[in-house]
Amino acid sequence: MVTTTHDDRHGTAGSADDLLAIRGLRTEFGTGDRTVRAVRGVDLSIARGEILGLVGESGSGKSVLASSILRLIRPPGRIAAGEIVFDGRDVLAMNTRTLSRWRGRDIGIVFQQPQGCLNPVRRIGWQVAEPLRLKKGLGRRAAWDEAVQLLRSVGIPSPESKARAYPHQVSGGQAQRVMIAIALALRPKLLIADEPTTALDVTIQAQILELLRDSCRTHGTSLLFVTHDLGVIAKLADRVAVMYAGNIVETGSVGGILESPRHPYTRGLMDAAPRLRSSEGERLRDIPGSIPNLARPIPGCPFAPRCGLRKELELDRCDREMPPFVQSAERHAVRCWGLPEMRTANRTNAAAPEREIVR
């Protein structure tokens, strides 16, 4: 069953049909002057059956956001503010027992390094069977048989014998298939995958991406996957959220983001990535500078110091104020003072008690 809901949604608000709704989420690490604000007020929603790609570079907070949803942030890290509602339930209010029941049953996770997540001294089959025994209450025999079936469904060749293998006896690609089997064992409503193919070779990556997409489509599972690779986004995502320095700066359908990106950072990312069989001799357009220090306050748009548009238009406001989301097309929201509609809006709203934007 495939359920993809594409109602009029954008980055700032969700609908009642959302499986997951995040509002104003802030995740921080450390205390006092050294507090690193990794996630700086994120609103995000995922519909049932939707595949959402969260793209960003290192330090953008994308992995911290994913871990926050699972409440996997350990001290000195903490969720400082915000709301996470999963299927009508308040995740931040869950106690430890509810949490551990919820994880695995309703929500699964796949990490970047599959070999590091598997127990090296247990047979693969038992590791897949574990959630089936603990959370579904199956007996040893029944759980083992279902584990073998699961391994078959994720494309492990001769699953009966591979179930008896230990993690070091399988390749990285197969280990990631095992992780996916474990994550999907209890048919969760949402699967979170944090850079699931980054550690894999490109030929294996293509197969794992297909497996993730097909498994989620078949069971109507929502998928939130985190990546730095826009090619992976193009392959998998229905909708995309672009993160920079702890903020989502643009969100929209995969077509909207990849074919008409509007935020200068999204455009910069696309220009900076070398593409196969692109026009020859053309120089890559790099983004000068590097990400801001997340332990310091960022009053304006975090991308402003590197932004070509800010420089070109000489928009002082970018340094002072974080722009709000503007819905620019259906299901496409962007936060940038440099957008044409922002500039006119600012001029016409001059009467409003906001500082007027001057060129």
Partner: protein, 344 residues
């Protein structure tokens, strides 16, 4: 008589022990580089692509004498590494430099980066001692860093800045060849583009040859003049960049190119090539090492190991199917094939 190439690699094998007996003697090995030939001209960039474990980094290290050859020769600037004394080898090292993948782990954390770069000059005794600081300052300018960066320590710099210093350290010795081992793989896309552009500029300015090792085909297409595709110790295809990307011949090259996820949504639903799992490097299949994953494999591929031979001028491939050699013709025409067949 034409001048010899800058780098000439012939029949190179590099082996690592994988098991040892009770006395510590190696009993088994894996051939990380398993019979490789290629040449590199002055000022040329050869891209070396392949997946993890294919031996591309080992090959990169072997051509600047960071790994000893088990068999075969590496001739650099006309000198055979195996025949050089330690002193002579040290002199030659100056001309063949190396840039590492992870700049965080390739600098002494307790030495300022300026001192690290200067150390290269001290070791090679290049320039008079009092001129060395000026040379360091000059090279910092070339890689886009200011004089204030010289006193910094590695932890104070970003990955991109550190990789610039990695380039500076190689470049300050005025080499003719730089082996770049995945120099941008640890960097974010936006910074990766800065470093690739910098390498391209400097290559022209200093007339450098680069051996550019990477798993990223798009990056290699951006920077290389010629490209070699490696698979488990062997170069299976080598040709100009144009030909490799416009007209790839080896089935493995095809699979690699088709596997790269494209940003173009028109290719969103293209099926992934069905390649199966990679083999155990200590027990490669008999005959062609790619045959158990190859869609074009036939009986000959099981029996005989295809050598990398030219199928058109400047385009060499190791594949029976591409060469159109069938079993009968292989038996008739090539004694070497019969030999491999007997041993396997």
């Amino acid at each position: 008589m034409t001048t010899p190439p800058l780098l000439d690699v012939e029949g190179l094998h590099v082996r690592y022990p994988v098991s040892r007996d009770v006395f510590g003697r190696p009993t088994g090995h894996v051939s990380a580089v398993d019979g490789v030939d290629f040449t590199l001209e002055n000022g040329e960039t050869l891209g070396l692509v392949g997946e993890s474990g294919c031996g591309k980094s080992t090959l990169g290290r072997a051509v600047v004498a960071l790994e000893p050859a088990a068999e075969g020769t590496v001739r650099f600037r006309g000198y055979d590494f195996a025949r050089l004394s330690d002193d002579e080898l040290k002199q030659q090292r100056r001309f063949g430099q190396f840039i590492f993948q992870n700049p965080r782990t390739s600098f002494d954390p307790r030495r300022s980066v300026g001192a690290s770069v200067r150390m290269a000059l001290d070791i090679q005794r290049l320039f008079r001692p009092r001129e060395r600081d000026e040379a360091v300052a000059e090279i910092f300018r070339k890689v886009g860093l200011g004089p204030e960066h010289r006193a910094r320590y590695p932890h104070e710099l970003s990955g991109g800045q550190l990789q610039r210093i990695g380039i500076a350290r190689a470049l300050v010795l005025q080499p003719q060849l730089i082996v770049c081992d995945e120099p941008v793989s640890a960097l974010d896309v936006s910074v990766q583009a800065q470093i690739l552009n910098l390498l391209k500029d400097l290559r022209g300015e200093f007339d450098l040859a680069l051996l550019f090792v990477s798993h990223n085909l798009a990056v290699v297409e951006y920077i290389a003049d010629r490209v070699a595709v490696m698979y488990y110790g062997r170069i299976v295809e080598i040709t100009s960049r144009r030909r490799l990307f416009d007209n790839p011949l080896h089935p493995y090259t095809h699979a690699l190119l088709e596997s790269v996820p494209s940003m173009d949504l028109a290719h969103r639903d293209d099926p992934a090539p069905k390649l199966g799992d990679p083999p155990d490097p200590t027990h490669l299949p008999s005959g062609c090492r790619f045959r158990n994953r190859c869609p074009r494999a036939f009986d000959l591929c099981r029996e005989a190991d295809p050598e990398t031979v030219e199928v058109e001028p400047g385009h060499a491939v190791a594949c029976w199917a591409v060469r159109g050699v069938d079993r009968a013709r292989a038996r008739e025409t090539s004694a070497t094939i019969t030999k491999t067949e007997e041993t396997t």
